[in-house]
Symmetry: D2
Subunit: 381 residues, 4 copies
Amino acid sequence: MAGNSFGNALVATTFGESHGAALGCVVDGCPAGVDLTVEHIQAQLDRRRPGQNRYQTQRQEGDRARLLSGVYQGRTLGTPIAVLVENTDAKSSDYKGLDDHYRPGHADYTWDQRFGRRAPRGGGRASARETVGRVAAGAIAEAVLAAWATRNHAEPLQIVAWVQQIGTAVAQGPAPAQILPGHTAGYAFDPLTLTREQVDATPLRCPDPQAHAAMQELLEQAQRERDSLGGVVRCAVRGLPAGWGEPVFDKLTGMLGHALLSLPAARGVQFGTGFAAAELRGTVHNDAFLPGFQFASNHHGGVLGGISTGAPLVVDVAFKPAATIPQPQQGGTRAGAVAERTVTGRHDPCVVPRAVPIVEAAVAFVLADALLAANFLPRET
Amino acid sequence: MAGNSFGNALVATTFGESHGAALGCVVDGCPAGVDLTVEHIQAQLDRRRPGQNRYQTQRQEGDRARLLSGVYQGRTLGTPIAVLVENTDAKSSDYKGLDDHYRPGHADYTWDQRFGRRAPRGGGRASARETVGRVAAGAIAEAVLAAWATRNHAEPLQIVAWVQQIGTAVAQGPAPAQILPGHTAGYAFDPLTLTREQVDATPLRCPDPQAHAAMQELLEQAQRERDSLGGVVRCAVRGLPAGWGEPVFDKLTGMLGHALLSLPAARGVQFGTGFAAAELRGTVHNDAFLPGFQFASNHHGGVLGGISTGAPLVVDVAFKPAATIPQPQQGGTRAGAVAERTVTGRHDPCVVPRAVPIVEAAVAFVLADALLAANFLPRET
Amino acid sequence: MAGNSFGNALVATTFGESHGAALGCVVDGCPAGVDLTVEHIQAQLDRRRPGQNRYQTQRQEGDRARLLSGVYQGRTLGTPIAVLVENTDAKSSDYKGLDDHYRPGHADYTWDQRFGRRAPRGGGRASARETVGRVAAGAIAEAVLAAWATRNHAEPLQIVAWVQQIGTAVAQGPAPAQILPGHTAGYAFDPLTLTREQVDATPLRCPDPQAHAAMQELLEQAQRERDSLGGVVRCAVRGLPAGWGEPVFDKLTGMLGHALLSLPAARGVQFGTGFAAAELRGTVHNDAFLPGFQFASNHHGGVLGGISTGAPLVVDVAFKPAATIPQPQQGGTRAGAVAERTVTGRHDPCVVPRAVPIVEAAVAFVLADALLAANFLPRET
Amino acid sequence: MAGNSFGNALVATTFGESHGAALGCVVDGCPAGVDLTVEHIQAQLDRRRPGQNRYQTQRQEGDRARLLSGVYQGRTLGTPIAVLVENTDAKSSDYKGLDDHYRPGHADYTWDQRFGRRAPRGGGRASARETVGRVAAGAIAEAVLAAWATRNHAEPLQIVAWVQQIGTAVAQGPAPAQILPGHTAGYAFDPLTLTREQVDATPLRCPDPQAHAAMQELLEQAQRERDSLGGVVRCAVRGLPAGWGEPVFDKLTGMLGHALLSLPAARGVQFGTGFAAAELRGTVHNDAFLPGFQFASNHHGGVLGGISTGAPLVVDVAFKPAATIPQPQQGGTRAGAVAERTVTGRHDPCVVPRAVPIVEAAVAFVLADALLAANFLPRET
């Protein structure tokens, strides 16, 4: 079976191993006439790229994208868009002897059980480098969303994610139910005006300065102790009109759950008030209508019955602490024995800041897919 | 676009509106030679059926399943299996005047924005009655999983879900990381020996008696105050071998996220330690190997890199409080005004107990799909 | 794997065995607001129904369709449309002892090799009764095409098929390259004005009276000699605008080839001049442009590069002689021996007349799918 | 919508425009442990490559394949296999001024109607260069089929196509119904022993020397008269076991029809006796059983009910005469006028010989997909 494609009307297929020749994606279903350049894709890949600061793996991949097809004179043709990123800084020597070793917290063992073999260098296709293709696909999806805004003379969608939590440090923005126009004042930051530039201006991509300082401290302590930390990325989408999404299986929640819970290291996803809704009563959780299809609260995080409500979409993704840590870990062997081993290689002590553009890409892709599935994109004129 | 089908190798398509002629599903991709009877399907539908106790809607649907195709002399043919459940007790008069009214917390408004029209009676296809088809599909999936066990002379998979939380009352079983052989003693209940019969023996499907009593109290209070409550269903799968699941987009986590977050009223999904993993360090969260591919803990909830580890799969689903409550609620009108209204109709004050077999069905379906996608099912001999 | 669904934007899933409880289909992806009634579906099923004249099987299935979902107050909801036809006149006794016998020209042997088991009565799912679901799906597709015409204030598409050949008798209409406005005069019939009513008015659905007489004679002779005959159905579509169809794999030719060559007994498909194009030169075969995007000839049968040209679509389907004939035939046994046997049961001596509405259904389905895939259908207003 | 992917269990997605940066494919679903090298893919691309003799376009593309992913140490990983071929000899100047000109027999006009824009140079994605990706995918499929033979200790499948007809010259091999062991002696060539090497040894890939000479003569005459010719490719598959293929929509006939009728310039497909079956009676066409599941004839071309019979698969594909011819042709303009124009550029006067490996690739892909869909490939040991 396949499993490397995602989407209904807009379909991304990704390929590539961490230490193979190249990674990339093919996006099929993009309508004709959408403005798209390689620079647009490169910009998102640069935000995902390793080696940007001292909290990240020092692997120095340029991650230069090539746009191989589907675009002519700066506009899409309606044909498949192939994006290629060659691997250049693959230090496979770091992975010597891993063929028969299973690292804890990694997919080594499960992959061997599934396929009988794997590319052991750098985790092969189980590496987070696999998300290069997802980020490129997300950039293409954003171009589709931009075309929608242009063709409808509407405000463009703003998809902005940030680090909401690392370890025990939590950003003090408004609760999801308050991420609504008129409800976000008086917090450490305002998700409804926050820009990607503002997020990127902080090393850990957390817009709450106080929480950011606490996160830095936790992270430095963890690094000193040769350990890693988990966290949560929150993503808010502004400008999403009501009526996007399919009912039943392909609800926005279902498709976003699929896209986000298939990200490397993702362990949970919740919408709006999410798990905390378990403690609420219906009288509270039912977002009351206000005139003009506005709402008094946003407990649903902008999705009702799987379809967008017009309120900001709010989704959280929990990530586990990075599995690779530079101290001895109790792994397994192909023969079923236990083997303690310190794995070298270049890894992030906390994947959460780099996950920010990856989460945005996943959200953008699901929304562009929903847009096209519902035939809401007017044809180019 | 479609959106009413789910699965890769095993594909379920569901159909039907709450107050239409019938609901049902067609399951394609089921191999030949699997033992399957309508009674097996009926048993699961009966567990989902409304009207079982005083905490549930008093709608009295018999929900009698008919097996229309794909089975001959008690065994599947390899052809599509169609299951039909006719609607009999549809009191559409309860929904008079709802054509232009949008109930808060319901999909009325978003559905109209998506499609321009809807079947207003009983929520139409946005009703939780849609899950009749999912439960029937899950029963078929369980028959596939049973065939796997038989043909491999293996222990059958045990997929058991229970109510883990209603309101602030939480069942005190072992934490997900402890749901491992040898770690579950000394708790209010043991998820590794728990049976569906034991779960069903309690009105709220919560195996912790103390928590159950607290839940009953909360629920009765909410009913008195004409309100509703949310909760969490936890599902554990025993006997799942290592190596099931596709990498990249169709990881078990991604597919389960898709299936579970597309359930009506679902607001969050987490695996193993889930959101709490954000606070952990890698040294703790990395489940250390023990000899013979065993693990010292189960923070990953039985899934690593999207593929099963052989440890029990543990997944949580958060459900919001039921949207329909028998008191005035501030809804909207098709014209964009606000309208207060008390919606009648028959609804559960808390959907969580009835969600238990629905969650099991979704999990069973994803696992049977993964089994077939990986070609792990031997042919009938 | 599945294999019982067809289509991209509009997806039909069919189910049912010849002598099982019921047959039917679920069509997903139909937009909201399309006028659809069960009578519309019944009308096409009636044209497919057996027992209409002495050249057809005397099995007396009423083939009454029930519309189970997806339609409310005469218009589609955008949700899956399920259609059910119960089997009533299944004389399974005719098939006693066929479990281990393989009839020549039937799928008995191949089916057993594929699945290891089968429903032997009436061919099970390999029976041509499987096309009940296809015809129902085609009727729904025609409703979508009608909505397109209404919403665009355009002339509705006319999809009309007829029997072009039975045995050596061939209808003398214009060659496909001449099926163009202004080129069809002077022939035995005019495919550009031909209606389904006119076709149905002849017992064998051949609009050329002289050829019809010859076909009747051939067929009666074959019946007398307890034999069967093959033939060709030709289908022409008028009013199909230019620009429908996907390039590359899902060309109109590819999708039609898939739909038509998967019909029971189909052995070949050709477009426009088809196989005879092998003998032509480019100067002849290249349909020259005339002003206003008209063409001087229609060798391409209305499809160029997989996309409609605006000229009538012309496609031929060859059907083999019916496999079941009331005389001893040399079949096989499950053990690999040869067994002569006269199979009883009720069958058409020539399937071609009944194939006419089935071919139309397949063509309608592919065109409606192409319409929706290209987002050419305006939303309901 | 998409439309650039094909297959169920094995899925090929192709990309690339004729004069863009590159062409290629991603094949998903290939099992792990299949022997695969870039040389194997290159060998098939070389057979498709232009410029091999004087009857072909003189465009000198090296068509060097790069294997970007999915293979490690000469064996597949179970991950997507990406193949890239860069365009090097794109003489776009030949296509100056074609933006607003529609060539007859080409997809220029229909493409503009579908998408509103296109890449005019070299036909863009409508060029036959698109088949580069298909041929690479076919080579991967053949590796899967080879793995099947190895793992089952069976004879490998032999998929051999040849030019059966160019213009009026027809190769005099046995009729399809005679392409059966013991029936092929005494003809100009024997399809059951014919090798690709023997086919390639002739300039026009026709194994009947007399017909080959006639084809050469016809082709030279056509070239002198600045014209082009159509033809027929026949493909026979030896060693295909009984039981491959899905019933209903995804019959081998349906899938092959889809793959072959979506090839550039394809106009018809038939199986076994094909269109000529219309003239036959059931007593003749029903291939009688012989002991040991052998057959007395092969009218069905190795497929019954969509599933392989064990007899050689025989399929014909009709190709139209090449649309580009070096003389003035009556095309259209974007404004709807008529414009006579002699299109330069480098093209084959007859595409049929180069279509031989393309047809083989399509057949190989459908068979490997059917193999995997039916779970007939044992896992690597």
